[in-house]
């Protein structure tokens, strides 16, 4: 097996635990979008065009409420604002790629693809082939998202409530963040971001998440600078 293939499948494998949580989420989106009055093709198309879970939920709800187009678009923009942070964070590792690669990997860039990828890149640094890992992780998630949306559209969200599969997502993120907490600035960044996220939980459109992330970044950077 050549190196590209190996990295691609490493990316797919790293994505697996996240897919456990994403699959039911996609089914719920599909079922909810139909309930909100979207046609089956429209519900499916949104998963391909927007390809961002929370933004799709909010957009479906707003379309149902017949909100004006600019309100829907502004909301989608704010909910997805955190992707600018991911873009900045991955940029140094992808800088030598062709425009075609940059476009494709940007399209595939989600929370779930970002998390395993950045951990790998921070550990190994920039290599000429590392983008295949992100491609594998991103494509695994993309495929799962399209299939689970389709199942949700056609079958409804046929997941028993007693099976807390959605909990797999925060669990995977815990598995990723805990080993990375190696020094005081990292711990402080994680802890302050978490606390602000709790305090700002009631803010709409994931603004609390953005605020919390910025606070964590600020605290970590400040503490590192003081050393």
């Amino acid at each position: 097996m050549n190196e590209f293939k190996k990295l691609f499948w490493d990316g797919v494998r790293a994505e697996f635990p996240l897919l456990i949580g994403v699959f039911p989420f996609g089914m719920i989106y599909g079922a909810l979008a139909l309930n909100a009055g979207l046609s089956a093709p429209a519900a499916q198309a949104m998963s391909a065009l927007v390809f961002a879970g929370s933004a799709q939920f909010v957009a479906a709800q707003l379309l149902h409420d017949a909100a004006p187009a600019f309100v829907i678009l502004a909301t989608v923009a704010v909910v997805n604002l955190r992707h600018v942070l991911y873009s900045a964070s991955l940029a140094p590792y992808l800088k030598n790629l062709s425009l075609k690669w940059k476009i494709m990997l940007s399209y595939l860039l989600t929370d779930e693809a970002y998390a395993p990828t950045i951990l790998k890149y921070e550990k190994e640094g920039a290599t000429p082939t590392n983008h295949w890992f992100l491609f594998g992780a991103g494509l695994a998630l993309w495929t799962t998202w399209q299939i689970s949306t389709a199942l949700g559209v056609f079958l409804g969200a046929a997941i028993p409530d007693s099976l807390p599969l959605d909990f797999a997502l925060p669990l995977t993120f815990i598995a990723m963040v805990a080993p990375a907490l190696k020094n005081r600035p990292m711990v402080a960044a994680a802890f302050s971001a978490g606390c602000v996220a709790l305090l700002a939980y009631s803010l709409p459109f994931k603004l609390g998440l953005i605020l919390a992330a910025l606070m964590g970044i600020l605290v970590g950077t400040f503490l590192e600078g003081r050393k």
Binding site: L94, I103, A115, V177, Y201, A212
Partner: protein, 104 residues
């Protein structure tokens, strides 16, 4: 406005944000502080996602021992910290949650 047009523009906006700095990087000088700050994006963002998932139950802040997800999350964090193994962490957290939910 046509629903398809709204989705298309929504997709373009989302793509634009994902593409923004991947595209712009290298086209201008990035200050050293900014470079350093980027290392804190993963722990900050991930914690900001994790904390509310553990502490909020049905939109209510719950720090009591009856909050199964919080307890299961603590178990998972300990397993993650010791084992550094993703699958083991998820398994431990899931089992902990199921046990706590069944026994209440």
């Amino acid at each position: 406005m046509n629903i398809w047009l709204v989705m298309l523009i929504g997709g373009v906006v989302t793509f634009g944000m994902r593409f923004s700095l991947i595209y712009l990087f290298g086209k201008f000088e990035i200050p050293e502080t900014m470079r350093r700050a980027l290392h804190y994006v993963p722990p900050a963002v991930l914690s900001a996602i994790i904390f509310p998932e553990l502490f909020f139950h049905a939109n209510h802040f719950d720090i009591s021992l009856s909050n199964s997800r919080l307890l299961a999350g603590v178990v998972a964090a300990l397993v993650a910290w010791i084992s550094k193994n993703t699958l083991l962490t998820i398994l431990a957290g899931m089992v902990a949650l199921l046990v706590l939910q069944t026994w209440r």
